[in-house]
Structures are given as C-alpha cells and as structure tokens.
C-alpha cells in the first residue's frame, strides 16, 4: 500500500517556530504548493525553490496591486492593507508605469553619496543605544534592535522627535489592531488618517524650511517637468517608516540570536569586525526579516511548472525558503559569515527590490559588531527553548531576546 506524505501546514504555530523544515519539505515534494491562507481562506500558491522565487519577482505577468488584480476571495479577505486610503497606493503596490516614475524620483534620494552621509548619525545613535542597554536592569537585545532603526529613520526623514513618537504610535495602532474588537475597522482607519496627517505636516514644514533630510529631498525631487504629487510624497514618507523600522529591528535581533547559536561565528565576528559586510549578507540569508514577499497576483491564467495558476491568485514568494535552498547554498542552516556565492533574495529582487537596502546594511553592519565588541561574553539569560518567534506571516520577528551582558563566569 502506498501512502502519500501529507504536506506540512504553512502559517500555523509549529511553522512559525520552525519554518525551515516546512520549506525543506515543500522544495522537494511540492515546489508549487497550492494551499488556503488562514485569513479569509483564500486559495494561494507558495513557491519555495530559489529559481522559482527569483523568476516570480521579475515576472511582469504578476502585479503587486491586490485591489486591481486580486481574486474576489482575496479582496474580501481584508488583507489588502490601507485599502481605500492613500496608504493603499504606496510604492510597494504600484505597477509600472506609476511604479517606475515614483521609484525613479525617490531613488534619487538614496544615492551612494547620500547614504555615506548617514554613517555618522547611525554610529552616534548606536552608541547612545548601547549606553542605554548597558544601564538596563533587564537587558533585552530587542530593545536595542528596536531603538536603532526608529531613531535613525526619524532623524533621516527630518522629523521632530515628539512628532515622530506620535507617528510610530499611530503605526502601531494601524498594524496591531485587535481583530476581535467590533470597532476594529474604525480604529485602523483613524490610525491611517493620523499617519497621513503627520506626513502632510512634515511635508508642509519641509517646503517652508528645507533641510538636508530625506523628506526635503523627496519634496524637491524632479525629473524634467515631473515631480511627486502631494499624495505621493505623503505615502513615500509613510512607506519609509513602515518598511524600514520593523524590518531592520528584526534583522538585528535574528542576527544576534544566530550568533549566539553559532559561538564560533560570534567569536569570528568579534575578532574580525572587518568581516561585517559579508556577515550582514549572511544574516539576511540565514534569517532575513521578510519570510515571504508581498503577494504577487497573477494577471492572467498561467502555469508554473505545470501547475495551473488562475488569474487573481495570490502567489507567495518564499524568500527565506529560497535563501535556504540546498541547491544554491551548501549546508544552508549553518551560519557562515564568510560565505560567498549566490546572492540571497532577502531584500527582494527585480522591480520592487528594497529601496532602503543600503541603509539596512549600514545600520546592521555597525550595530551588530558594536554590540559584540561592547559585550564580548554576552549570553542568553533564559533557556534557548524560551526564545519564540512571533506568529507573523510576513516578518520573522522576535518579541524579546533577554541577555546577560557581562556574565561573571564566562570567558570566550
């Protein structure tokens, strides 16, 4: 008698703690995996192999715009975020030619020269954050990891401190709304309204008093006669905050956990901080912040490896699955900060690849080695089994990573 092995479930509690064994199974047995997504019971397809994921991300037969191309089930699921508001039209969901136009205007603000000027504020903020961690009674790497991108983003965008704190609070309310609350929808709508109004306020201020911050550069961005509309400006400021803070926080957190799990690599990076740039690429590959890409909607009926994919189907790019495909990486679950070879897809690929990649690399490449240098014998202060990832389908996120900064009995 033959038995067919049951596919493991994506996005259930076991998956969140160990997605990699699910990916391993799928890559071998069902690389174009049809499944139903928990929210809204939407039929979707999950791609797990490196080649397929990369091909999807540069395939123009797919759109990022769920409101325009998504299946009825997908539209009804409520997963199209910020739908109906200006936030629903951010860069990540635009298709060409709108995407090309906005991206081109915005990219002018991320020149290598400008990124170089961010080194000083990033170093300063990391030093301040280390001081604060040092003084903490219950040191938690995630407090360190959260603070850095939040402060850096606020400063780079040119926000006054207090206003930025209000903005972050509104974002928190927009994303962590309680679905059980009957007023959920209006809470979320009000939070999005608030985000938009802080954005407008900042832009008005930068028109009046331009500085050398990112917002001022966006305000002045021009391409011939073309410039960003008021709404595009607001949504760009919002996307910088929404895409740049939690991601960087989570990358720094999972990088530190990976190093604690691989003491030889911890030691290597501590002794050779000059390895930081390959180390950052390896952190991204090993446990990068985005588990999967944003939904890609098939614009027509098509097939992937012979599996029919009807128009409107959301297709999920398994970014971290691709980054751990043994066809591309030898012994993928071993952290090796000197690894070279195939590039990872942790910052995306193709049209929508991460616009803030240089900033993310800069922050992580300074923060992690600085932490090791300051606390060379750092270790977990709770048993390893207590370190749990959040049940978040998009981001690989640690709520907490408690550590002893200078355990008395350790020499490494």
């Amino acid at each position: 008698m033959q038995t067919t092995e049951q596919a493991p479930t994506l996005f259930d509690s076991a998956y969140y703690q160990d997605p990699y064994s699910v990916y391993d199974w799928l890559r071998i047995h069902d690389p174009v995996h049809r499944f139903r997504f928990g929210v809204g019971d939407v039929p979707m397809v999950f791609l797990s192999r490196y080649d397929d994921v990369r091909a999807l991300l540069s395939d123009q037969r797919f759109s990022n715009d769920g409101a325009a191309w998504g299946s009825e089930e997908f539209k009804r699921s409520g997963m199209i975020f910020g739908a109906g508001t200006l936030i629903g039209r951010i860069l990540t969901v635009l298709d060409p030619p709108d995407h090309t136009r906005v991206r081109k205007l915005a990219m002018g603000a991320f020149t290598p020269r400008r990124v170089a000027t961010w080194k000083e504020p990033v170093e300063r903020i990391i030093n301040e954050t280390l001081e604060r961690l040092e003084k903490s009674d219950e040191p938690d790497v995630m407090d360190f990891a959260s603070r850095i991108p939040a402060d850096v983003t606020g400063e780079i965008l040119g926000f006054p401190l207090k206003r930025f704190a209000d903005m972050l609070d509104a974002i928190e309310r927009a994303f962590h709304a309680d679905p059980a609350n009957p007023d959920n929808e209006s809470v979320v709508a009000a939070a999005f309204e608030e985000i938009v109004s802080y954005g407008r306020e900042l832009i008005t201020e930068k028109r009046r008093n331009p500085g050398d911050d990112l917002t001022s550069v966006f305000v002045q961005a021009r391409d011939g006669e073309d410039r960003l509309s008021e709404d595009e400006l607001v949504s760009l400021v919002a996307v910088m905050i929404m895409a740049g803070i939690d991601t960087t926080r989570n990358l720094i957190g999972s990088a530190v956990l990976a190093l604690l799990d691989h003491p030889d690599q911890f030691r290597l990076l501590r002794e050779h901080p000059e390895l930081s740039s390959t180390a950052v690429e390896e952190f991204l590959r090993y446990d990068g912040a985005f588990c999967v890409g944003l939904f890609r909607l098939a614009k027509e009926d098509l097939e992937i490896r012979g599996v029919p994919v009807p128009a409107g189907t959301p297709v999920v790019a398994g970014l971290q699955s691709a980054n751990n495909d043994p066809e591309e990486y030898i012994d993928p679950r071993r952290l090796d900060i000197t690894r070279t070879g195939q590039r990872h897809l942790a910052l995306g690929y193709g049209l929508h690849n991460c616009m803030g990649a240089a900033l993310a690399r800069l922050e992580t490449g300074i923060a992690v080695p600085a932490l090791l240098r300051r606390f060379p014998t750092m270790r977990l202060s709770v048993p390893r089994a207590e370190i749990r990832f959040e049940e978040n389908w998009l981001l690989r996120s640690l709520p907490s990573l408690p550590v002893e900064l200078r355990p008395a009995d350790v020499t490494r």
């Binding site: 990369r54 991300l57 540069s58 123009q60 060409p96 090309t100 991206r103 081109k104 990219m107 002018g108 991320f110 020149t111 290598p112 391409d223 195939q342 590039r343 910052l347 995306g348 690929y349 193709g350 049209l351 690849n353 991460c354 616009m355 990649a357 240089a358």
Partner: protein, 68 residues
C-alpha cells in the same frame, strides 16, 4: 546618436531592477551581477530605456556613455 551601455560590476548588487524593467537590455547572471545584453545602442527607444534605468539603479552601476 550612439551610446555605449555598461555595468560597473564592482558596485552592482545584483538586485535586478534593471532586468525587471528592461529585460531586452539587462539580465542578472548566475554570478549575481547584471550584464548588458547589448552594449552598442543606436535605437532611440533603447537609449531612452537604458537611460530610465540609470537613475533607478540603487548603486549607480549602470553607465551610458556617448560616442561621437
């Protein structure tokens, strides 16, 4: 007008914006660097396409130079 299209592989990060925008002009090789599929551009449409990518490449790796 004639332009030469080239990629500076010392700075290219291989994120593939170029190939996704204009696959007829760019592809990203297995080594992770972009390559120009054609380097000698004379068709104004090709030149306009290449120029539109120059500003979008995150590392300023794409070079489009005039030849007389």
């Amino acid at each position: 007008m004639r332009k030469i299209l080239s990629i500076d592989t010392t700075v290219c990060k291989g994120a593939g914006t170029c190939g996704a925008m204009h696959p007829q002009l760019f592809s990203v090789g297995d080594d992770g660097y972009a390559v120009a599929r054609r380097t000698d551009l004379v068709d104004p449409a090709d030149i306009a396409a290449a120029a539109s990518v120059v500003d979008v490449c995150p590392t300023e790796a794409i070079q489009l130079t005039s030849v007389d």
